[in-house]
């Protein structure tokens, strides 16, 4: 049982709802950034008794990557494509919110089936992770602007990162770094492609990207 931890996770889950509800891309991006920072701080809270340099490193990397680097790139892309709103999404905002809320509840309910280690019992790790992942999926599926989809992907990654914290005490640093690196590079590449698409189609509306089909 760790209240600060649960508080942070709870905040992150609240941000989900904001992300689901908003139609303005800047808000969406900022939400994701804040969520990234929050989660980035978690390790410190988690392992507060055994604070060592590697934790600090990871924290810094995460916060830098998720909190500043990626949002900056996305904002740039958004500006380049000069779009500020997600119009006619595939799944509307109210339904998204409902889905998200329902998903979160279902997540909490489902986690009862998954046995937790003593040190994690009572923590919101697993429900939080599930909620984030669900939110990510809803955004990926429900939005049509490339940027919103990238944000959805980021929230998905956040959820996985949260789940990954279950292992933070046991997995070696190298792996953590590798994973972090991959995620960052991955998002970089996505950013680049978004940029290219923006140039090729001078729009970031993925509904235009349906030339390839049967």
């Amino acid at each position: 049982m760790n209240d600060t931890l649960n508080l942070l996770i709870g905040l992150a889950m609240g941000l989900n709802l904001l992300a689901l509800g908003t139609s303005r891309l800047p808000v969406l991006i900022r939400t994701v950034a804040v969520q990234g920072v929050l989660l980035g701080l978690l390790p410190l809270v988690l392992e507060v008794h055994a604070l060592d340099w590697r934790l600090v490193l990871i924290t810094l990397a995460t916060v830098a990557g998720k909190g500043f680097l990626i949002p900056y790139m996305l904002t740039r892309a958004m500006r380049a494509a000069n779009i500020a709103r997600e119009l006619e999404p595939f799944i509307g905002y109210i339904p998204s919110l409902l889905l998200g809320a329902g998903g979160t509840i279902a997540a909490v309910a489902l986690t009862r089936y998954l046995p937790l280690l003593p040190e994690h019992t009572g923590n919101l790790h697993v429900p939080g992770a599930m909620a984030l992942i669900l939110t990510g999926f809803i955004l990926l599926i429900g939005r049509t602007k490339a940027i919103s989809q990238v944000c959805g992907y980021l929230i998905l990654e956040n959820g996985i990162y949260l789940a990954g914290l279950l292992l933070i005490s046991s997995t070696p640093i190298l792996v953590e770094f590798g994973i972090l690196l991959d995620v960052t590079v991955g998002v970089f590449v996505i950013g680049i492609i978004v940029d290219r698409i923006q140039r090729a189609f001078d729009s970031l509306d993925t509904r235009k990207l349906t030339a390839l089909h049967e």
């Binding site: 999926f137 599926i141 049509t144 989809q149 990207l209 349906t210 089909h213």
Partner: protein, 646 residues
């Protein structure tokens, strides 16, 4: 000795395939030489009656090659060699470099490969290698059928053949792997004791039945046989479909049979025989007619085979052996007269450029050789004495009648006899029509009037075939001895029993008949010499100006019988009637669809197409739904595990 000749045969064919593109003459020589070697080996086996086995010292695809040439395979090998050789000679003129510069070289190459692969199908006694040979055979046949692949209908026919054949192959995949899984080895041989294998026979029947062209599975056969070059049609119709028969015969001899197998084969046989010949009678394309007639003959063979299987279950060698002898003899006979007929049709096509009977007629004047030889083939295929066709059917009838006389297998035998009689009469009608419309009367079109006889390379093969046909007719006893040897291979437990087929007497009667015929013919010809003849217009009930268009056409000739089978044939007839006092030209167009294909298979294929279209809509190009699929994948698998109960 056998090993040597067979090796020579194989080498000859491989070499032939090698030189086929560049040196037609050498190719011809090699192919004929190989055919002779193979024939020698096969005949030796048939006459001595002992099998030839050979095991390789190396592994091919993880299995030791195992070749077996016993009576049954030797008999079929005879077919392969005969048509393989004669067809090569025939093709040398029929599909010559000069007429078909692009496809002739390919054709020669595939011909050698086809012959080779069929030989391998017959000799391979290892399931894996059998499948090799089987596929090689199917593919080379495909490439032969599509020699003229610039023509759309040929491509269509070829693809249909390929698809059907592959469907059969899939059944054989299942069959052989199941055998291997149950017996633990790929090697093939008698497995009567393992009754658990019995159900597998249905797979074999389906798989081989497609190739054999038994009734519901024959859909590929007409178009493929009609569209292919005639020497290929001959090979397909006379030999290739016999590979399917070989498979069925082989495994019905080796495997424990399901209870109902015999009945099923009888039923399918009756169906094929009757409906096949009904379709044949209705055709106006001479090669399609011949193709459907093959369906009928396969039916006859299946009837007899089914009866033999029943005989095994009843332990009744006295009729089983008669029927079985009929099976093998009819396999041989059908090969002979069907290749003869296709060669004949080929030279007609060669001379007139059309296969449509209603544009032919009166060809005997310009093509006497072809006409006479085709007539021999027609008499033989209608199962009329004194030719070989009758001898074979006679043996089959005896099997059936004896079963009836002993009041056994009645439910099968009685209808089978009646069906045989009916299909025999229909076959007579069909071939009376074919000969009458194509070769007799007055030419119905200009090409028919100005046709010219084919060269000796084309009619000598026909002549040889005709000689064998007559020989079997007049000396059945001579040919029955080896056939009985083959029967003994299929059912060794019957070796002791003598079915007492009165073949010698039959041969005697045939000979007497032939002599009387010659005498009578001579007599009447001399008589007419003395009395003198006058030539005049056909009297035609006094009509002054008979013209070629007043003749009966193939459609009208078949009209009555086609009416009886209209429920199946569903002829599509388009008529422009005569109107007014000075009517412009009237016409009747009729088309006989391949009912099973166009009324059953195509619609179901369309349904499959709809399903595929539906599936295709899933690939709509909208990314967020693709991601939804991923999500659904997770949920579905999750549910599967939850419901799986762990």
């Amino acid at each position: 000795m056998i090993a040597a000749t067979l090796t020579l045969c194989g080498l000859g064919l491989i070499l032939a395939a090698g030189v086929a593109r560049t040196m037609p003459r050498i190719w011809l020589g090699l192919t004929v030489w190989a055919a002779l070697c193979g024939l020698y080996a096969a005949l030796t086996i048939l006459l001595t009656g002992e099998a030839w086995l050979w095991r390789g010292g190396f592994a091919l695809g993880g299995e030791i090659p195992f070749l077996r040439l016993d009576g049954i395979s030797a008999l079929f090998l005879v077919l392969v060699c005969v048509v393989g050789g004669l067809g090569a000679v025939y093709a040398h003129e029929y599909w010559s470099e000069h007429h078909h510069p692009r496809s002739a070289p390919r054709g020669r190459c595939w011909w050698s490969l086809l012959t080779l692969s069929m030989g391998l199908v017959l000799t391979c006694a290892n399931g894996l290698h059998f499948l090799f040979a089987w596929e090689a055979f199917a593919l080379s046949a495909y490439f032969l059928i599509t020699l003229e692949n610039d023509r759309v209908e040929v491509r269509k026919a070829g693809w249909l053949y390929l698809a059907a054949s592959h469907a059969g192959t899939m059944a054989l995949f299942a069959f052989f792997s199941a055998m291997a899984a149950r017996t633990g080895t790929w090697e093939l041989g008698p497995v009567h004791d393992q009754t658990v294998l019995a159900p597998l026979f249905w797979l074999a029947l389906a798989g081989f039945g497609v190739k054999a062209g038994m009734f519901p599975l024959h859909i590929w056969l007409p178009s493929a046989h009609a569209g292919a070059p005639s020497h290929v049609s001959a090979m397909m119709s006379a030999v290739a479909i016999k590979m399917g028969v070989y498979g069925i015969v082989r495994f019905s001899g080796w495997m424990p049979m399901p209870e109902s197998a015999g009945w099923a084969m009888l039923a399918i046989g009756c169906l094929s025989a009757l409906l096949g010949i009904a379709f044949a009678l209705a055709q106006s394309d001479i090669k399609r007619l011949l193709a459907y007639c093959s369906v009928e003959n396969i039916g006859i063979i299946l009837i007899a085979l089914g009866l033999s299987v029943l005989a095994v279950q009843h332990e009744r060698p006295e009729w089983g052996k008669a029927a079985l002898a009929g099976v093998f003899l009819h396999v041989l006979n059908h090969c002979l007269f069907k290749s003869l007929l296709f060669f004949g049709a080929g030279s007609v096509l060669h001379a007139t450029g059309t296969r449509d009977m209603s544009r032919l007629g009166g060809l005997w004047r310009t093509m006497p050789w072809t006409a006479a030889l085709f007539a021999v083939g027609a008499v033989a295929v209608s199962g009329l004495p004194p030719l070989n066709g009758f001898v074979g059917e006679w043996a089959i009838y005896q099997g059936l009648l004896r079963a009836v006389a002993q009041k056994e297998a009645a439910a099968g035998a009685l209808p089978a006899v009646i069906v045989l009689a009916g299909s025999g009469a229909l076959a007579l009608a069909a071939f009376a029509k074919a000969v009458g419309i194509v070769f007799l009367g007055a030419p119905r079109s200009k090409p028919a009037a100005t046709a010219s006889e084919c060269g000796w390379l084309m009619y000598v093969p026909m002549l040889l075939l005709a000689c064998v046909i007559v020989a079997i007719g007049l000396l059945p006893g001579l040919f029955f001895r080896p056939i009985m040897g083959v029967v003994a291979v299929w059912a060794p437990q019957w070796a002791a029993v003598d079915p007492l087929l009165a073949t010698r007497t039959l041969g005697g009667v045939h000979t007497i008949f032939a002599c009387v015929l010659l005498a009578g013919g001579f007599l009447i010809v001399r008589r007419i010499r003395t009395t003198g003849t006058r030539r005049n217009l056909t009297w035609d009930c006094g009509y002054a100006a008979p013209s070629a268009h007043m003749q009966y056409t193939s459609g009208s000739f078949a009209g009555i019988a086609r009416g009886w089978f209209a429920w199946l044939l569903r002829p599509e007839i388009m008529i422009r009637r005569v109107r007014g006092h000075f009517p412009d030209q009237a016409m009747v167009l009729e088309r006989i669809p391949e009912t099973v294909l166009e009324k059953i298979v195509t619609p179901s294929a369309r349904v499959a197409g709809f399903v595929a279209d539906g599936a295709g809509k899933l690939q709509h190009g909208r990314l967020h739904l693709y991601i939804l699929y991923v999500f659904l994948g997770v949920t579905a698998l999750g549910f599967m595990i939850l419901l799986g109960g762990v």
